[in-house]
Amino acid sequence: MVLPKLVGSPIKRREDPRLVEGTSTYVDDIKLHGTLYCGIVRSVYAHARIKSIDTEAARQHPGVFAVVTGEDLKAGGIGMLPVAHRFGEGLKVPPRYPLAVGEVHFAGEAVAAVVATDRYVARDAVDLVQVEYEPLPAVVDLDAAYAGAPYVHEEFGTNIAFEWKLFNESGASIGEADVKLSQRIENQRLAPVPMETRGVVADYDKGKKSLTLWTSTQIPHLLRTFLSLLIGMPEHHVRVVAPEVGGGFGQKLNVYAEEGIASALSIQLGRPIKWIESRAESMASSIHGRGQTDYVDVGATKDGKITHLHVHILADLGAYHQLLTPVIPTLTGLMLTGPYTIPNLQCTVHGLFTNKVPTDAYRGAGRPEATYLIERVCDLVADATGVDPVEVRRRNFIGSDKFPYTTAAGLAYDSGNYPLALDKALSHIKYDEFRAEQAAARKNGKYLGIGFSTYVEVCGMGPSAAMPAGFGWESSTVRVDPTGKVTVTTGASPHGQGQETTFAQIAADELGVGVDDVIINHGDTAGSPYGVGTFGSRGTAVGGAAMMLAIQKVQEKAKRIAAHMLEASVDDITFENGKFGVKGAPDRAKSLGEIAWIAYTADTIPASIEPGLEATSFFEPPNFTYPFGTHIAFVEVDGDTGEVTLKRYVAVDDCGRVINPMIVDGQVHGGLAQGIAQALFEEVIYDDQGQLVTGSLMDYALPTARGLVSFETDHTTTPSPVNPLGVKGVGEAGTIGSTPAIVNAVVDALKPFGVTHIDMPMRGEKLWRIMNK
């Protein structure tokens, strides 16, 4: 084996020069001759019957080519948007057409589409479409939605889309526990807000009867399948391209109305159709995340051992199911016990329709809700028992000798060492000194707080049998070109994760070439085998593993060709220091390039060896991965204003083997910013009419450098046994671990005021009221 040279080293991302120079190609940079622009008419009501749509004035507007409504698309054979699930009959699925038919169910829902010569004319024409509505009562609040009428979808006679239950109890009941406590915990709705909003360019080729769709997506291959079903075009006539994708965070892990609308219009008009989402449209119509109200009952011993966890989750699904909507809150249920040995678990999830934008996967997707809940519970138990919050966690940890460990929810954790990460994080701080400082500061009216979060997350999304509709594998092709350069394709189409760098590091090491001799191609269904996509921290754990298997096949074939070239037995061929040689004769060793030339010229290789040097592999992981870590937050709450200042943040994450520590740190930093922002700033708010109040970035508070702090990151390394790279994934860790650390710190700071729980976000006004009650 060649010694790893690139894997583990912090080389700079190869993607970045083109991104910072502005030379990369996003969807809006695709400029096809004859392009027409699409604008979408959106519902102003959260819930209303469409009485009529008058498109005449828009049609007559100079420069307008077409105006279509939901009825038009339906008559043209356009179907419904898909939802992936395993609930069977147990899930209520309302019809969801790309353009609303009959009724609208959230403010911002697409009602009609116009096509015009440019985007400004299209925007003007949107205003000329007159939609007459009959408003219906809007369902906004989760408790009210659960209680009964009014209903989002009258035909169901309920707002409950599904009920999902977990029950694992043995021995004593919660009533017999020494310590019992209950808490209502809200996990507010968030908007993912990728820097690049969504956008599509659809181009129908009449001659070839084929459609190419450029779209800002995380799942080009799955989208191609679903789009072909949606518009009724054979799949092999559809090509989907995800060019540069400016952030996704799960929002682009979906099949959206506009992808179907633009495709249908391009087919109808025979012209390329472009639609670029505005920020306001993004906030009001692309999926949101989180959105739960959780009712928690806990039983514990008086020395802080948690014995019972009973949770009733009211999950805000929004008005419809998008691709994974009903699956997300079940992930919360599955991860409720966190890194702890909680023997008795009960969980009921009620997925509730509301007249709001559908929720779906947002960075963490169901697991941040679980981690927030159990990490708040640890602090509540600490409060109730008087045991230190660090000690509560320690007493409940799954022992490092217990892996693989099957939890009360039935998941098999692959590997872990939770005390190690906790100890490492504690080694960065002086806990006892802080407690003394905190006590002294309180006497001076200064409120300091410390918060802990010892999280575990489920990542590396596969295996297929455990996924909402299969598709838990990933594919890769590794091709050594005649000159010895390496072209890799991956189905795990990235959108900011740096796979062009990390995958090249792995391939270069394994094939004995330089990192610049490897290119990683992705995102084009015409240019690679079928693939799945990047989400659920699966890029390297599943996609990288698929590439590793393909590399091993290439290595094997290279050895057979080398054996032929060196007139030796295959069994005697070694691969050392980047060259294929015969045992004991290193000077005769052949480089990959020399072997590739022979593989392609093919005039000297025996008939038993196929020409060429490439291989394709599909990797099906045997299990999920379970990254973990300990986060510690220090905050100060201003006694006069209630404003929270983040003083210090320590994150120790274990994502298994690290391919590129700089990229891992980047992922952790970005995740921390988003997770901390949920605790402190972000909140999607609808008024009681179902109108989005936080519809712009003036009103929806994204994190900025001003509200954050220079993060201190560190790692422990516990390889995963479930993939050949030993990696676990790190895309969501920061988001999942950080939110409870912040809230625990703020609650700790305000302990003198007798609070044990505060719902997010930790706004100054809210905290000021607590301090001035």
């Binding site: 102003v44 403010a107 306001a280 009001a284 008024d687 009419q689 109108q691 519809g695 009103d699």
Partner: protein, 148 residues
């Protein structure tokens, strides 16, 4: 959004009531009113140009007065549509004698639908207070015969 408040007119109830029912006074004092036409008993169609939170919109409105108890109380409903969003306001007005003047109190709800709701909500309460204040000042001016 809940809106309530009061305004004191230096006039008796009859004068204030007549003023509030006067088409001409409304046409003059409704904010940004470009035209006001009667479309039925106590019903008008109006075009109002109003800027809220920096977003100017031309609202096509229907205005209705219902549940009238002369000299005492009435309900005013305004429904407006603009490119920037729809507005619906329902207010209950009542009059009370106060020394040598009349106090008008109002209590109602205003709902904003569409893009305007998502952009300007934070500024809506102060903006509507300003608009309502200007409206009453203007109406008061109509009462004393001076125009503003």
């Amino acid at each position: 959004m809940h809106v309530n408040g009061s305004y004191t007119f230096k006039a008796d109830k009859q004068a204030v009531y007549d003023l509030m029912m006067s088409k001409d006074a409304l046409a003059h004092c409704l904010p940004g009113c470009e035209n006001l036409e009667e479309i039925g008993e106590d019903a008008y169609r109006a075009t109002l140009k109003i800027g809220i939170a920096g977003i100017k919109g031309t609202y096509t409105c229907t205005i209705r007065t219902t549940e009238k108890v002369p000299l005492e109380t009435w309900t005013l409903t305004i429904e407006g549509q603009a490119k920037t969003g729809n507005v619906k306001g329902v207010g209950r007005f009542s009059l009370a004698d106060a020394d040598d003047s009349t106090e008008l109190t109002y209590d109602g709800d205003a709902d904003i639908m569409g893009p305007l709701a998502g952009i300007g909500q934070r500024m809506l309460a102060p903006a509507s207070r300003t608009i309502i204040g200007k409206f009453f000042e203007c109406m008061s001016g109509q009462l004393s015969g001076s125009s503003q």
